[in-house]
Symmetry: C2
Subunit: 261 residues, 2 copies
């Protein structure tokens, strides 16, 4: 009966095309290669342009294709494994942190962030902007929200913003004893500023990681990190430092199974 | 100069519309309400249908809108926080597990999974299908791949498949000492079977969580769990059980900041 049920749910046409295209990518194309234009592809597979576009969008979601401004659609390399949260219990900016501070301003955070921080909705907080680069490619942009009360020792700035100011805020934050942290991961779309930094178009799908840092019995800081969803696979290592064993022939940690397709 | 640079990157028209629509959702619509049709919306905001559709797609990515078969586009409730990996070091199917076993078959896994398990590419493994329901809503579907060698004590089945078989495989797996596990989260698109189970269209964006379970010095099982990206926010709790403190006025754990928009 299970089989019958399966058969009565027909696959949409673009889904079938996606499977066929996926096989063609494996056998005929190499990473970085530019795909033929939509008209030629539609003609080759005997489908309407709209069907082709749906299939290409699926392959882009799954990280098989990349659409790049001024280049066209190219075959994507395998996604990079980007470590998130292997370093439990450490403040942003401590040794080994993969992020680079870029700027710091005082700004009123979005209402949701103010709620998490317990600040009034019109209170400015230190807003540190950091970026993360892997193998020369921008992979993520972060806004770290730090209320005044978390960094009371911060002196009046020589410069009110900039990377030096960002480092000063991080340094002050590290004076607090970190009691814990938690994370949430969800799908979002790249804001205009993040998109520019990540070399994507605004609205491109991103993975949004929200981290709360707890100190002194409250939320002392909130980080909202935006990772490119096309090129990144977020990895969460075992925090107890258990050595990871590989079975015979198993790929390295950086090789992922294909996303569910 | 930073400001000048910002100003020279104009916001796309659909992005501006998205912001306006988002405000309209807050002020004029309630959760579950059906949006007017595209023609009426485009007329109201004085934009082309294509622009409107792009803006609606953005809002869907961000979890603000839901497109439902046979219903139309509705205002989405806030995303649910779904705990992933708060229970470190426990096998699937142990007490407190949120997953329900549905079926078990013997099947050759995808090449990427076989690589992780270190099995030959034509070797069948126990493939347990489980589902996860939150508040009566399907939130995730899982395939758990368990090689024969991980469950050597499994007896010849009375039934070759079904939920009873799935439970038997999980029971046998729990005899092994779990040495560690790691996880990766990435963006994917719902396969036809998963889409049906999750009440979505095939190809809908999903968050794919791949978990490797280590025992006996190798990867003893691999789970590929597909979460609805529209309704779910995956939460990763502090594994050391640190009590989470809330600042005054802070929302509960289940209230997320808005995704980056």
């Amino acid at each position: 009966m299970g089989t019958t049920q399966l058969e009565t749910v027909p696959e949409p046409k673009y889904w079938h095309l996606k499977t066929v295209l996926s096989e063609a990518l494996d056998s005929e194309f190499s990473v970085g290669e530019i795909l033929p234009n939509e008209r030629d592809l539609a003609a080759r597979f005997g489908v309407a342009r709209a069907t082709l576009r749906q299939a290409l969008e699926q392959l882009e979601l799954e990280g098989r294709l990349q659409r790049r401004r001024g280049v066209g659609t190219t075959v994507a390399p395998p996604r990079m494994g980007v470590a998130v949260g292997t370093e439990q219990h450490s403040w942003p900016g401590t040794a080994g942190d993969a992020w680079q501070p870029a700027d710091c301003t005082a700004a009123v955070p979005p209402a949701g962030i103010a709620g998490l921080l317990g600040t009034d909705t019109d209170t400015q907080v230190h807003t540190v902007r950091r970026s993360r680069v892997n193998d020369g490619q921008p992979v993520a942009a972060e806004l770290l929200y730090v209320p005044e009360t978390s960094v009371p020792g911060l002196t009046a700035p020589d410069a009110p913003s900039g990377a030096a100011r960002a480092r000063a805020v991080l340094r002050e934050l590290q004076r607090l004893e970190l009691e814990g942290q938690d994370r949430a991961v969800e799908l979002g779309s790249a804001r205009v500023e993040d998109a520019r930094e990540l070399d994507r178009l605004p609205g491109a799908p991103v993975l949004v990681v929200t981290t709360r840092f707890f100190a002194g019995g409250r939320t002392a800081a909130v980080s909202v990190a935006t990772y490119r969803a096309d090129t990144c696979r977020l990895t969460f290592g075992d925090p107890d430092g258990v050595v990871i064993h590989h079975g015979a022939g198993a790929p390295s940690l950086d090789t992922s199974p294909e996303p569910v397709t």
